[in-house]
Amino acid sequence: MAEALLRLERLEKSYGALRVTDAVTLDVRPGEIHALIGPNGAGKTTLIGEIAGQVRPDAGRILFAGEDVTRLPVHARARRGLARSFQITNVLPDFTALENVALAAQARAGSSFRFFRPAARDEALNGRAAEALAGVGLAARGGIRADALSHGERRALELAIALVQEPKLLLLDEPMAGTGREESTALTRMLQRLRGSRAILLVEHDMEAVFALADRISVLVYGRVVATGSPAEIRADPVVREAYLGEGE
């Protein structure tokens, strides 16, 4: 078995008396699509935040590519190859769609302490950004300000930003949330194409997408991982059926 790209060791986080991350141990292997499912309020977004660095865990360790990143700030983790999408869309409203993605390409390309050449006319950055926009179906929307895009388009933009960062591990927090049937099918197909090229930790409520995409699934309930396994194993797991799938399906 390949060594884990991401490894969480007994991660803990409480908000007051509320345990949102309860002794979570979990790994994501290189190239795998690992889905994280669980009921509302289970602590999925919090866990993504702990991995990306926005939320500081109370205890436990986060190892990424063999390195302990538990105490590193967000930007340092991103530099090492961790990219995330946000459940609540977080794009730059005053920038066009193209500028949003070009900034991500710029961050990937190296130092941004360059003061004189106009970034807007940097064809290398614009080219990569346009390509990423085309990949998520926004080819014709590059010149539109992000705050004028529809909700679904902003979700797609969020994904294009994460993809252009070319991360080793992509953390996706409900990429399908609030998008239409057609858009989520297209998104599933797109993630399918990414399979193998990079590892993905996918938080998603759309079970059809989860079972179509995931190599492995972990189930989080009240901050605790109650099961990890292949889609078939998870489907058959009695604990999971009772705690989670039973009510939804």
Binding site: V74, H75, A78, D94, A104, A107, F113, A119
Partner: protein, 337 residues
């Protein structure tokens, strides 16, 4: 381009959003600064023709404070950082000239870089602390640092203390005294303003400037891209300090006097008003704001000593009816420099 070529456009062209509006905006971005600088360039000759020579000195002061307002706009308009201690940078630049002169250093090639560096360093040091806070705390802490500089100047008894410091001659260059001639000094100030304007526009359009503007909109997004927003905001803060330091050095030369009042929080507030009045996030907006603010102050104070009574309602009207500042009343949207 000929009319024929325009007709030959591929059929998908009309799908693009309002090309006419975009072009008008691009034209405005070019036209407004060109008109402003042309007006400044023509002003001395016009003042002669009208016999209003005091205008040259007044316009010199306007350009110097416009430079300071522009530097504030870099962090306020583009960076989204409401700094309430900007006058300290201006004052430090001015005091650098005054203290250097007092100590016998009058060579411009040393004094001007010294003034710029002193203000930029002060900005770097205070910014490193201030930028760890946000929102109203950032306003408070920059105000506090500004007041510290103000009271430090008051306590400098060797350099005039409360009374300020008279400078007995304008800064020299290679032994000559080109700045002593008011007309020549006017054009030096105009040259500084134009150079800084172009430099500032280049900075906000650069990769660095993009990160700075992104950090205004969402620091969390910037960090998630692998860029530390703090580093970019601090660099912008120091650059703005340097520009303001240059304005301070020019101000000291203009008035041939430096005083703690240059650093008062009142002056910091005036600079904020200039930026908002003209239109945040546009450097020629800041210049326009300085012109209108100081112009109205001058005109109204001739009418009545209670000119602030008239000025207040004017500001209220601008803020209520022209959210983007006076620039938004022109067919130009303030953004992208």
């Amino acid at each position: 381009m000929t009319a024929r070529a325009a007709e030959d456009r591929p059929p998908e062209a009309p799908a693009l959003p309002a090309p006419a509006g975009t072009r008008a905006r691009a034209l405005g971005r070019l036209l407004v600064p060109v008109l402003l600088f042309a007006a400044f360039a023509a002003l001395p000759a016009a003042a002669d023709a009208l016999g209003q020579t005091f205008l040259v000195s007044f316009a010199t002061r306007v350009m110097i404070l416009a430079l300071a307002a522009m530097s504030l706009d870099l962090i306020l308009g583009y960076g989204g950082l409401v700094s309430f201690g900007h006058a300290a940078f201006l004052g430090i630049g001015a005091y650098a000239v005054g203290i250097a002169a007092e100590e016998g250093l009058t060579e411009g090639l040393a004094v001007f870089p010294l003034a710029i560096a002193a203000a930029a360093l002060f900005a770097l040091a205070t910014g490193a602390v201030s930028l760890r806070t946000r929102g109203v705390y950032f306003i408070m802490i920059t105000l506090a640092f500004g007041q510290m500089a103000f009271f430090t100047a008051i306590s400098l008894s060797a350099y005039g203390g409360d009374d300020g410091l008279t400078i007995w001659g304008r800064t020299e260059f290679l032994g000559g005294t080109p700045l002593e001639d008011d007309r020549a000094f006017y054009f030096v100030v105009l040259g500084c303003l134009a150079a800084c304007y172009l430099l500032a526009r280049a900075i906000v359009a650069s990769r660095f400037g993009r990160v700075l503007q992104a950090a205004r909109q969402s620091p969390g997004r910037v960090a998630a891209l692998g860029l530390d927003p703090f580093a970019y905001q601090l660099a912008a803060y120091a650059i703005a300090g340097g520009f303001a330091g240059l304005a301070g050095a020019l101000l000291a030369n203009h008035t041939e006097f430096v005083s703690p009042a240059y650093m008062s929080w009142h002056r910091s507030g005036e600079l904020i008003v200039m930026v908002i009045l003209g239109g945040m996030g546009s450097f020629h907006g800041a210049i326009l704001g300085a012109i209108v603010y100081l112009g109205l102050e001058e005109a109204l104070s001739h009418l009545t000593e209670h000119w602030r009574l008239l000025f207040g309602p004017f500001l209220v009207l601008v803020v209520l009816h022209a959210r983007g500042g006076l620039l938004s009343l022109l067919p130009v949207r303030p953004r992208d420099g």
